[in-house]
């Protein structure tokens, strides 16, 4: 039996004005378990807290009920008071007789009656309270960043700058991501490479950062502070530590007809390649699908020309296991496939290109050395049509496009249009749009410059059809403002393809037990208040894996994610919330219902041996809650059909006791 003390607060006249506090403390004296009951003017004051402390000592209290303001106000205060007097802080319950009683009821009798009932409910609950202790777990002071684009790079640099070791896992042979492929960046028009490549070099030179390029995460175990991760390093058939990146091998390689993915297949590379000049790490990689030596055992030229002797045709995939305290997902995005958009003739004509291809066409390091020409015949285009929202905001065609706005297309199309008009004033540029969305610093000014200074023809309306005819592209479109059909003979059509999360994100989310929305974007722990954290503790989100983002947004989110990681890694130990779920293994069916509703992946299963009444043993699958990961929502307790799952601090029996006390 508990020995409960009841402390009724007047809160000056805030409570005492509408509630007869004396009557409340008298009435609660007779409740089961109550051995002491009093009231005082300001329970939260030093003097009030001393009354509580003294009573705990004098009456050997095992639990206390404070009838006062909202627990959101002073629960923490009274828990500290209890702890100072040697009582477990979770043996404290608050009856909210101010916000929920004296302040909303005018009549003294009604207020007093209700206050007594609320007090009884709290007493009933405390009778079933048990001392709770927060668990502690150590923190591995190392972070993992998955994805080496600008998001991953920025996050890694920020974490490393704070003094913590960081590993970047990038599936491509080099870090840099999409930004490395871009030409200029809006709204400042500085070149992407000029601002990105120095950061890539910083990453390479930072002693706290390791880069696992051409690698992927294959397994994640553990929980916040204690993740065990397996990384698969694909064989690149070149010894990374020996290769100097001189490029002799790529020149001598006889297999030169490999579509160059960095230039989106608009030119070719060799079977042994370095993706681009500023690649980090700058080492060669052999593409096993094209290398004659690997496929047929004939050739070996690259090994012969490599002065460093870095070529190793026998290299195997390598698995690395490492422990991490925090994981940042920065898996980024890709433009969607244009295969389903037949109306724009993307597959029929080489001169219908995506915006990312346009970036490469205008990039000085691109396949045309920055000269804007038609991919089909290398001629200068005189009329260019840009089509916005190809597959974005596409609710009617959900099977081929995306319902959401891809966010970056309005701005980069304005950039493309402006740069084209700037460099080639003889080229007419049309942009077809649904809306032009320019929310961002200096974004609208940028767009207006495209229209007003550079004479880009913005037409509200959608392109219905693009038909290749001779060397022209017949563009049929509608102008919604003029309310007429337009026919334009274009030389080049550029499609602002919607962007979608990288395909690697979905299996990764499963490994991390991080949740995703229906579009495969990672969901944040709270859309407003915890935008860079995943609901899974210790997993953070950076960049476009969480939703479409431009570079400034990505960088700021990357920094925010880094600061959250630093905050986590700075701790030596993590103290958990003791109000977590726990499963009674004797009653658990192992049915997985709880696991399915857990937003944090806190529940796992193990096979346990049980002694049966007939002295045999039986192995059963039972749920185990990781208290370091559980946040205590209680979803599992209701999903559990047998009632094996319960929540500490809000146990079923406690809530039922409250219900009973109220309904008596």
């Amino acid at each position: 039996m508990q020995r409960i003390g009841v402390f009724v607060c007047w809160c000056g006249s805030n409570i005492a004005g509408t509630v007869d506090v004396q009557a409340v403390s008298e009435a609660l004296k007779n409740e089961p378990g109550v051995v002491f009951s009093t009231n005082y003017q300001y329970m939260c004051s030093q003097a009030g807290q001393n009354i509580i402390k003294d009573a705990i000592a004098e009456h050997k209290l095992t639990g206390i009920v404070v009838c006062s303001c909202s627990p959101r106000m002073h629960e923490a205060t009274f828990r500290k008071t209890a702890a100072a007097a040697g009582l477990n802080p979770y043996m404290v319950e608050i009856a909210n007789i101010r916000e929920q009683c004296s302040w909303v009821h005018k009549d003294m009798l009604t207020g007093t009656e209700k206050a007594i009932i609320l007090g009884k409910a709290a007493v009933a609950k405390v009778n079933l309270n048990t001392p709770l202790t927060a668990g502690e777990s150590p923190v591995t002071k190392r972070a993992l960043v998955i994805g080496g684009g600008i998001a991953g790079i920025q996050t890694a640099l920020d974490i490393a700058d704070a003094g913590f070791p960081v590993d970047i896992v990038e599936k491509k042979p080099t870090i840099g991501g999409k930004m490395a492929q871009l030409d200029k960046t809006f709204p400042t028009l500085d070149c992407a490479a000029c601002i990105l490549t120095p950061k890539m070099v910083d990453v390479a030179q930072n002693e706290n950062i390791r880069i696992f390029s051409y690698s992927e995460v294959t397994e994640v175990k553990g929980f916040v502070g204690n993740f065990d991760v397996t990384i698969k390093k694909h064989a690149r058939f070149v010894k990374e530590d020996i290769c100097t990146g001189c490029g002799a091998c790529t020149e001598k390689c006889p297999m030169k007809k490999v579509p160059n993915e960095f230039n989106l297949g608009m030119d070719n590379r060799s079977a042994i390649y370095i993706p681009f000049a500023q690649a980090v790490p700058k080492v060669a990689t052999i593409d096993p699908n094209y290398c004659n030596m690997l496929k047929k055992g004939k050739c070996g030229l690259c090994a012969k020309v490599c002065a460093a002797g870095a070529i190793d045709y026998t290299q195997k995939d390598e698995y690395i296991s490492e422990k991490y305290g925090a994981i940042v997902v920065a898996t980024g995005f890709n433009p969607i496939s244009m295969d389903k958009f037949d109306e724009f003739a993307y597959n029929q004509s080489k001169d219908v290109i995506t915006s990312l291809e346009f970036e490469r066409l205008t990039n000085a390091a691109g396949p045309t050395a920055g000269k804007l020409v038609r991919p089909s015949d290398g001629k200068h285009p005189h009329t260019i049509v840009f089509v916005q929202c190809v597959g974005s905001r596409c609710s009617a065609c959900a099977e081929k496009g995306k319902e959401y706005c891809s966010k970056i297309c309005c701005m980069y199309t304005a950039k493309h249009a402006m740069l084209t008009r700037d460099k080639y004033p003889d080229t007419e540029v049309y942009v077809f749009y649904i809306d032009v969305r320019t929310p961002g610093k200096n974004f609208d000014e940028f767009y207006r410059r495209a229209v007003e200074e550079f004479g880009v023809n913005y037409i509200k309306g959608m392109v219905g059809k693009v038909t290749p005819e001779g060397d022209k592209l017949k563009v049929q479109a509608s102008d919604l403002i003029a309310n007429k059909q337009l026919h334009i003979d274009a030389d080049l059509v550029v499609l602002a393809a919607a962007i979608e999360p990288d395909k690697s994100a979905r299996p990764l989310a499963t490994m991390l037990t991080a949740s995703m929305d229906t579009n495969d974007f990672f969901t944040e722990a709270h859309p407003k208040l915890r935008p860079v954290e995943s609901p899974t503790a210790g997993v953070f989100l950076s960049g476009a894996c969480q939703g479409p983002k431009d570079i400034p947004e990505t960088v700021s989110q990357a920094g925010a994610a880094a600061s959250k990681v630093i905050g986590l890694l700075a701790k030596d130990k993590l103290t958990g919330n003791p109000c977590v779920a726990h499963s009674n293994e004797l009653m658990c069916n192992g049915c997985s219902s709880c696991e399915r509703v857990c937003p944090y992946g806190a529940i796992s299963y193990e096979d346990k041996e049980f002694r049966m009444p007939d002295r045999t043993t039986k192995i059963r699958r039972v749920a185990v809650v990781n208290p370091a990961v559980c946040q205590g929502c209680g979803a599992c307790t209701v999903a559990c059909p047998s009632g094996a799952m319960d929540l500490k601090g809000f146990a079923s029996a406690q809530i039922i006791a409250e219900v009973d006390a109220i309904c008596k």
Partner: protein, 144 residues
């Protein structure tokens, strides 16, 4: 002629993060609602087991209301979505058994919606009061 004034007993389960805070705000702003409403704090609306709802009815509650964060705003991201499914199914079942549907409600009340909290409780209490005492669940297995 009814002599004794009938006062309904209403149990309100409120999630700690939104609705309980909404109730606090109603208090801060001195927005009155009937004292018949008694609040039980739960971490999330998804902690509310249908057994608690039935228990309240069994012990004489005339109405049970569950308040949580608005869909999409759950502190635990998905808790209220489960609440929504569970309670839709439960309430539909109670209605199927002939229990008055006005006795049960789920309402999403954010921490900023003190006025909504008070208005909701006023409205709910009024509707429950109009029904009178909750006899049906009590009598479900007691054929006269």
């Amino acid at each position: 002629m009814q002599v004794k004034e009938y006062k309904p007993l209403i149990v309100a389960f409120c999630c700690n993060w939104c609705s309980y805070a909404g109730a606090d705000l109603a208090g801060n702003n001195r927005l009155a609602y009937p004292a018949d409403v008694k609040i039980i704090r739960v971490p999330c609306s998804c902690r509310v087991n249908p057994m608690f709802v039935l228990r309240a009815f069994q012990r004489g509650a005339d109405g049970v209301i569950i308040c949580g964060c608005h869909p999409g705003d759950c502190h635990y991201t998905s808790g209220n979505y489960y609440t929504r499914r569970r309670m839709a199914a439960l309430f539909s079942m109670l209605d199927y058994l002939g229990i008055e549907k006005e006795r049960t409600r789920v309402e999403w009340v954010s921490a900023a919606e003190g006025a909504k909290f008070a208005a909701t409780m006023n409205d709910f209490a009024e509707k429950v009061a109009a029904l009178g005492e909750n006899k049906r669940l009590e009598d479900l297995r007691c054929k006269k």
